[in-house]
């Protein structure tokens, strides 16, 4: 004990007498310790932020899915662009019963991810469709029907102008001439007389002869998460309704992700204007100097035609008048005025942006849906055929704090019954019907490899048979529509499928693709607790004979979840390199200091100091320096983190908003960060002093005398 005290005193004396060396080595240790504290605390804060973003938006704490799935679950998007195969969980109700009985599990939320399309026909197609419905309802002569007719006439006129302009640029005008001829017919009085007499026939003509010239509509890809919407709203804390209302319990419905709507569904001209506005107001960018903004501004100006097409005749007139007044332009057509409105620069942008949303926005459809609309979703079912479902848009939602993050727009929400329709889940009766049809025909399956031998290598010399090979049509003719009417809902009934309600039991009894496990808020803690729960849940499903894989939120989120692991790896590598450099510097400094102290060490050896005493002396000297510098470094690191936590690190990109779980990261530190940093720096100190200490032990008393 007394020896130790002497060693400490000697270490302090030595540190004081070699100030420059102590200062250099101490600074390195201080910097290293501070780096470890700041790095690990930041990383842990990012991981905690990301955990918040992921667990509170889509994943829950754990996810379960088919253990035989071909692809790994990727809630924020996989590599197969929506065609990922996560297998299926055929009986969710049983899974829920088993897992909710596991201690620490608060709830199990059913889920199913899919990709659907939502289309928006061209203006002409949509107007014709509306007219067809009016014709079916016999309301064409009414006010709304006549407004549609007026709109149609305007669209035909605009299309004619466009075709005549494009004709001048074409070498072969055969097709465009035929289209113009059809349009001329549609503009004639005789055609409108025919329209009045037989609107359906006239609409058929417009559909097949005129509408194809009006261009294709737009197709939107919509990633959706089918779930128990009530439970989702309850257990996913970041979920907030932005517009409209939640889907009522037991009803089918769609909630559109506001971020997705703004970045993917919104009318292109409005999206571009929003992008310019955000870049200018949030990042201080300028159209004149930012090439990306310059390009967007140029693109905006070219899109006036799309707006013109969307305006009804009355709105077109009103817009023209108001734009003339606002822009101070007295001549020119509506298109000229719209082009002028959309020709933006740094000086006029704010005014034009406001004008667009004040004058144009209310008169056009900015999104391909309105809250309350019934939209048609189409998806490829698991049997490979296209399934269409009408579903009502009840509202839009966001994940609070993540509004700016593109990743938060990863999925829209639908009820579980709609998901199952789009997924193509068949009832036992439907499966039986397919089996019966197959059996009725009894087609023998021939594989690709055997096809030619099977089809053309047999005994038959001719491929031709007589008409007796066919059954008579009347025998096989399917029942007429009248005969079928008792077996399936009428068209009108089918279209009101969105009004169908379902019970909770019906919703839970069926297939899902995955399920979120929400852990008890009190029991839930850090990563370790989640891993313990994961093992427990996995054991429970295994014991119940359920073929499910249980993964934590990080694994369930796909490549995003691996981000922190990658960053942690990079940080450890960086710290490792810094410490190797530090180790070499400390080692050299200590070696030099040892060589300078040969006389002192030799004298100590001469008066009886053992080699171990000398070694301990050198090592303790570094340890004391490490302890002092490390403590100061940990303090500095803690100070930096405290300051960062106070001011907040801004999320300067979409991905950072998601990683920071909001617009700013406010990092915190704990005792563990300080302790780890201190231990690391002491270990580095000891390793770096080991060699100088060995050299010191080899100093002989005679070397001290020799120097004298």
């Amino acid at each position: 004990m007394r020896g130790t005290g002497i060693l400490f005193r000697m270490a302090l004396r030595s540190l004081a007498s070699h100030k420059v060396k102590s200062l250099i080595v101490g600074s390195i240790m201080l910097f290293g310790t501070a780096l470890v504290v700041v790095g690990t605390a930041l990383l842990d804060s990012v991981e905690a932020g990301m955990q918040q973003s992921i667990t509170k938006s889509l994943s829950g704490d754990l996810q379960m899915y088919d253990s035989e799935a071909k692809d790994d679950l990727a809630l924020f998007g996989g590599m197969a662009m929506g065609a990922d195969d996560y297998g299926e969980v055929p009986d969710f109700a049983r899974v829920q019963t088993v897992v909710e009985a596991v201690p620490g599990v608060e709830a199990v939320v059913p889920m199913g991810i899919g990709l659907a399309t939502m289309s928006r026909g061209s203006e002409l197609d949509r107007t014709l469709d509306a007219l067809r419905q009016a014709a079916r309802a016999g309301t064409i002569a009414g006010e709304q029907g006549q407004a549609l007719v007026a709109r149609l006439e305007r669209l035909i006129d605009l299309l004619r102008t466009e075709l005549i302009n494009s004709r001048a640029l074409l070498q072969d005008t055969t097709e465009v001439d035929a289209q113009i001829a059809s349009i001329e017919r549609a503009r004639g009085d005789a055609f409108w007389a025919e329209f009045a007499a037989d609107p359906v026939a006239a609409l058929d003509f417009l559909d097949s002869k005129v509408a194809p010239a009006g261009g294709e509509g737009l197709l939107y890809y919509l990633r959706y998460l089918g779930t128990d919407l009530d439970q989702f709203a309850r257990y996913f804390d970041r979920f907030r309704i932005v517009e409209g209302e939640p889907v009522p319990t037991g009803h089918r419905g769609l909630l559109i992700n506001q971020r997705f709507a703004d970045s993917q569904l919104k009318l292109k001209v409005a999206r571009l204007l929003d992008d310019i506005h955000d870049a200018m107001t949030q990042n201080g960018a300028r159209i004149a100097t930012d090439p990306a903004l310059t390009a967007k501004a140029r693109q905006v100006a070219s899109l006036y035609g799309a707006i013109s097409l969307m305006l009804s005749p009355e709105d077109a007139h009103a817009t023209e008048t108001e734009l003339r007044r606002a822009l101070g332009i007295t001549d020119g057509t509506l298109d000229t005025l719209l082009e002028a409105l959309l020709t933006v620069d740094d000086a006029n942008f704010a005014e034009r942006y406001a004008l667009f949303y004040d004058l144009i926005g209310p008169r056009i459809t900015l999104y391909p849906y309105r809250v309350g609309d019934v939209v048609t979703l189409r998806a490829w079912t698991r049997r490979g055929y296209m399934k269409s479902v009408n579903v009502k848009v009840y509202g839009t939602f966001k994940f609070e704090g993540l509004e700016r993050s593109e990743l938060s727009g990863a999925a829209n929400l639908v009820d579980l019954m709609t998901f199952r329709d789009l997924y193509g889940q068949m009832t036992a009766a439907q499966e039986e019907e397919l089996r019966a049809i197959r059996e009725e025909v009894g087609l023998e399956h021939v594989g690709r490899a055997d096809a030619e031998a099977a089809f053309f290598g047999g005994d038959a010399d001719s491929q031709v048979t007589g008409a007796e090979a066919f059954g008579t049509f009347d025998e096989m003719h399917p029942p007429t529509s009248d005969e079928r009417s008792d077996e399936r809902p009428s068209e009108a009934a089918r279209r009101t499928i969105t009004d169908e309600t379902f019970t909770r039991e019906q919703m839970l009894d069926g297939v899902v693709l995955n399920a979120a496990v929400i852990l008890d808020r009190d029991a839930q803690g850090g990563t370790g607790d989640i891993e313990v729960a994961r093992v427990r849940v996995q054991a429970a499903v295994d014991a119940a004979g359920l073929k499910l894989k249980v993964v934590d939120w990080r694994a369930a989120s796909g490549i995003i979840g691996q981000f922190v692991l990658v960053v942690r790896g990079v940080l450890i590598l960086a710290i490792g390199i810094i410490f190797i450099v530090a180790l070499v510097i400390i080692n050299n400094s200590m070696l030099m200091a040892t060589l300078e102290r040969v006389r002192e060490i030799g004298t100590l050896r001469a008066i009886g100091a053992q080699r171990s005493f000398v070694q301990a002396m050198v090592m303790i000297e570094t340890l004391v320096l490490g302890l002092l510098s490390g403590t100061a470094g940990a303090g500095l690191g803690a100070g930096i983190i405290t300051w960062m936590g106070h001011v907040g690190l801004p999320a300067t990109s979409d991905i950072l908003v998601f990683l920071f779980s909001g617009p700013r990261l406010r990092p915190t530190f704990g005792a563990s960060h300080l302790l780890i940093a201190l231990v690391v720096i002491l270990i580095v100190s000891l390793i770096s002093t080991w060699y100088p200490a060995r050299i010191a032990t080899r100093v002989q008393p005679v070397e001290a005398m020799g120097d004298a």
């Binding site: 559909d207 399956h445 021939v446 690709r448 053309f456 491929q463 066919f470 068209e491 089918r494």
Partner: protein, 269 residues
């Protein structure tokens, strides 16, 4: 000499598309390499034999097999009015799909889904009911009208001697595949095998027609040939295949207003 006479007869038949005229003469059986004119005559024969001058209605069973997916089967009625190039498919079974339909008017292919009450315009590449079949697989054959042939060779397909032709789509022809390879039975002059290719030459589908049914048509005053079975193998998504069985054919006249959107809609009311 006999071949020359037949060729002249074939050429004389060339401009005649109506079945009121005698069918064009195809090249003789067991012929060697065909000339351009003989190939065109052969394609006209293939087209003409499948064409009915009146209306056509068939009951088709369509079975779709996809790798790692459950099978899907449909029953559909195919309606054709070859004289005016009208075409329609109405799905009748299973119940969940009944009422869906395709309607071709001029160059437009529309699809109707009664579950959502909407029409949509589709392209010639549309996979009928999500299967590997296309509209052309069910519609009137227009090979001579839509493609220019070149001769590849006289080959054996199983035990049958076949003319192997390579066809390239004519300019402005609205077809699903721009390049076709056909293997036509030199004896019966029925297509036994077809391969559909993309413009790049990539093989997309192989189609087999192992059986043809010959039936008398009153309106045509001649026989009409109908494939009994069509087996389509997807060459891009290996393992995917569609098998079509024509179970019955009716060549009687159809109601006048049948090829309209209104009629198709009415079938699901």
């Amino acid at each position: 000499m006999r071949r020359a006479i037949l060729l002249v007869l074939g050429l004389m038949a060339t401009p005649l598309s109506s079945s009121a005229q005698p069918p064009p003469q195809a090249p003789p059986a067991q012929a060697g390499a065909l000339t351009q004119d003989e190939m065109i005559a052969l394609l006209r024969t293939v087209d003409d034999r499948q064409r009915n001058s009146g209306d056509y209605k068939s009951l088709a069973y369509i079975e779709q097999r996809e790798k790692d997916k459950e099978q899907m089967v449909y029953e559909a009625v195919v309606y054709r009015r070859d004289a005016t190039d009208r075409f329609m498919i109405l799905f009748t079974r299973p119940k969940a799909e009944a009422g869906k339909g395709y309607l071709r008017i001029d160059k437009n292919l529309f699809i109707y889904d009664p579950t959502v009450g909407k029409w949509e315009r589709r392209t010639e590449r549309e996979r009928i009911g999500g299967t590997d079949s296309r509209r052309q697989d069910f519609d009137e054959s227009r090979l001579a009208e839509e493609y220019d042939p070149t001769y590849v060779g006289l080959e054996k397909l199983g035990k049958f001697q076949v003319h192997h032709l390579e066809l390239h789509a004519k300019k402005d022809a609205d077809v699903a595949y721009p390049v076709l390879h056909l293997w036509i039975d030199a004896d019966s002059q029925n297509i036994l095998k077809a391969q559909d290719m993309a413009l790049s030459g990539k093989l997309m589908r192989t189609v087999y027609y192992p059986q043809w049914v010959k039936m008398a048509s009153e309106s045509k005053g001649a026989d009409v040939y109908v494939p009994k079975e069509i087996h389509i193998y997807d060459e891009v998504e290996k393992g995917n295949q569609t098998h079509v069985v024509i179970r019955s054919v009716d060549l009687k006249s159809l109601p006048e207003n049948i090829f309209t959107k209104a009629w198709l809609e009415s079938q699901s009311r």
